[in-house]
Symmetry: C2
Subunit: 439 residues, 2 copies
């Protein structure tokens, strides 16, 4: 390849090896194989909790493989592992990153695909003797799922300076065990001496390939989602208080039916969310006393409001607070109380990274119609990296939008398309850095 | 008093001793006293489960007191206890009946008032040397609440030939104990040798004084409900099946939200019940998987439909089945299934008994405005007696419509008014029997 920054044509000639990508992915999925759901050997889920023995095996593979590809590997104090391939000049690496840990009943693609696409990128660079302007790398972030140690994205959070290291190290495993993140990092040999910090281990940019975990790309028959950010969300607990009463002896006029009101509130929350193109969802509802012939005097339910913009979430919240109060006020014996449990502001990814992903997606798929802009509905390590370096994400379709489930599935073709977009994005961003340095 | 059937004026001169009635009631409530809710010593609930030691003490008091008042006492094979005071001629007794057992966290009036009003009636008769045309009696039915042995009204059900004695005897106490109804009847000495049967122990008529357990009399400032029957009801379990999905990544168009549909169904069931002057209530709702950020794929809820006429319940059911199917059909991934758990037809009490209660209520209160016809929303032993003898019930107000709760409360004045209506109803019915015999 040419020694000066790669042209679009140069970039376009670099091809991901789909067969190798999938063989590598399914090879590491022999560590922590989960529930079988179909006839083929690879049709299983994954059970690879963070810092388990199986996670150690996958990590060891990652370290060994990237070293063999000429990378320097750094493990930080959260076990985050940075494999960096030198470039023409020094500087922080442009990275592909994701995670190798899974949910207890997870699948083979969430996180894992992002790491393997990064490793495949390194292999393509080696095969083709690609010399990047700056270093490029692949990062495996620890415990993204928050399934074993109960904070999601905890280690990218520490790296970004948003979560104190002590809090992260002291996290105890769920399910009553006594292991902590620190004790498990030590046990499997991944407690690095370099502080987990964007100051100690700076990154120039972060690109993350991930399955969509939703149905939009599949439904619209598109191949790539250019992720412009992560939507804002707020979680609330709503308490509806009425009065227990006998279903047979209490006329409607004398009731204070907490469940009937809750049903109206849930329906209304949906209607208001639709009106503002937001999302509103209730996943938990409990009531008391819970007897066929007793009108519930108390109902508690969760409310999850999401939208691309913080202001939309605020508008929906304000409108619902009014609507709920108004519906409750129709009966003086009924009352509604709100508690805000979580406030997660909207994240806007960096325009340079978004542009690199969009150009790469159109180049790889050959058609802007197969690409759409998206906002991520779920959190990812890229949320934390975006606070410290330019970041964007790349979504590929997953069957029926299913994830966190053994049947999570993305076709080999779509995995390869996503990996190629990731590789091109890293190269385009690397070129941009060089152009800006020489401008 | 006159030796021939009593005139209305004779009947009107017989007065319940309110002080004695309440003292007796609160005396027996020292056996099984429950949670204290107010300053006065009598402001407590009751915890007197059927066939417990406390229930035995109350039963012993009942047997001893009624024997001292000149009654023959018969205990049947379900522990039902019939105290019968001889009349001018032989024949089955005209009875007042109710129950001495309570809910685990019950009150002092549900059931207990009905028994004590019957005993007070016997005392008034003794004080005033009343000779009835036929025998009159008081019945204590066993385990009406179904709280300890889990069939409500089980012993009047056996008496009526509607529940097999073996099934009743073999009922095990709830909560994991090994005691059965039969073993507990034996243990406390109330397993009588006479079969529990309307054929072995016939009753001429059954009147039951009971607290309303609802708010209507209190709200309308009336003193007596003339109970014409018991409303029909049906209990259903409704299963709504959709699909679990991530609340953040699943647009509304791709969802199959079982809870949102359930909320609409519950609201609709209320609206359809209102339209038909029926009652519709949901007391139980469970969902899965139950996580803030997962749309529930399955919801199960109870539905309780009641109305005075069977045909109304059937109409509401049919209309709701159509409505539910129609609401579900808006999303092909959602489905609704019905299961009928209980069908309890409407009960119509006997016109002679209803007429006796109404005349007595207007006589005691002095105003038809203080009296209203009612349909009982809850089941009572009178449901079973009505299958084998003319029956009616008398309701008195209870504070806030609350029952099955320590704070259940009816004022002494209202207890005495109810007891006097009960006494007059028995006397009027007794006179009617004599008039018809001589006609």
């Amino acid at each position: 390849m040419s020694a000066s920054p790669l042209s679009d044509a140069d970039i376009g000639r670099l091809k991901v090896n789909q067969k190798r990508l999938m063989e590598d992915l399914h090879h590491t999925c022999t560590w922590g194989t989960g529930k079988k759901w179909g006839r083929q050997a690879i049709f299983t889920g994954m059970t690879r909790l963070a810092l388990s023995d199986d996670d150690k095996r996958a990590r060891d593979w990652f370290v060994q493989t990237t070293r063999n590809l000429g990378c320097d590997v750094t493990v930080d104090s959260m076990g985050n592992t940075f494999a960096v391939r030198p470039g023409r000049r020094d500087g922080p690496p442009t990275c592909a990153g994701s995670h190798l840990d899974t949910q207890p009943t997870g699948g083979r693609y969430d996180g894992i695909l992002g790491i393997h696409a990064g490793v495949e990128m390194l292999k393509v660079f080696e095969d083709n003797h690609v010399q990047t302007e700056y270093p490029v790398g692949v990062v495996n972030w620890t415990n993204e799922e928050g399934a074993r140690f109960p904070i999601s994205m905890v280690s990218s959070g520490v790296w970004a300076g948003e979560i104190p290291i002590e809090r992260a190290h002291n996290l105890q495993e769920v399910g009553g065990g006594t292991a902590t993140m620190k004790s498990e990092l030590e046990r499997i040999g991944y407690l690095g001496s370099v502080p987990a910090s964007y100051q100690s281990i700076p990154i120039a940019a972060h690109f993350e390939l991930h399955i969509e975990q939703g149905p939009i790309l599949e439904a619209e028959r598109r191949k790539i989602g250019v992720v412009k950010g992560v939507q804002a969300y707020r979680w609330y607990t709503i308490d509806v208080t009425g009065r227990d009463a006998h279903t047979g002896t209490t006329p409607f006029s004398s009731r204070a039916d907490a469940l009937l009101l809750a049903a109206r509130l849930i329906t209304r929350s949906h209607d208001v969310a639709v009106k503002h193109s937001a999302l509103g969802s209730t996943g938990i509802l409990t009531l008391s006393p819970g007897s066929v012939n007793t009108i519930p005097g108390h109902v508690r339910f969760s409310l999850d409001i999401r939208a691309p913009a913080d202001s939309t979430v605020e508008t929906v919240e304000a409108e619902l607070k009014n609507a709920f109060a108004s519906l409750a006020s129709q009966n003086s014996k009924l009352s509604v109380e709100w508690q805000t449990d979580t406030t997660s502001p909207a994240v806007n990814f960096h325009p340079d990274c978004i542009a690199a992903v969009r150009a790469s997606a159109e180049s790889v798929t050959g058609s802007a119609d197969l690409v759409r802009d998206m906002v991520s509905g779920a959190g990812h390590d890229s949320v934390y990296t975006s606070r410290r370096c330019p970041t964007s994400m790349i979504f590929v379709p997953c069957r029926n939008g299913v994830s966190h489930n053994p049947e999570e599935y993305t076709s080999p073709e779509d995995c390869a398309i996503g990996a190629e977009v990731l590789m091109q994005s890293v190269l385009r961003y690397d070129r941009l850095r060089a152009e800006r340095a020489s401008a």
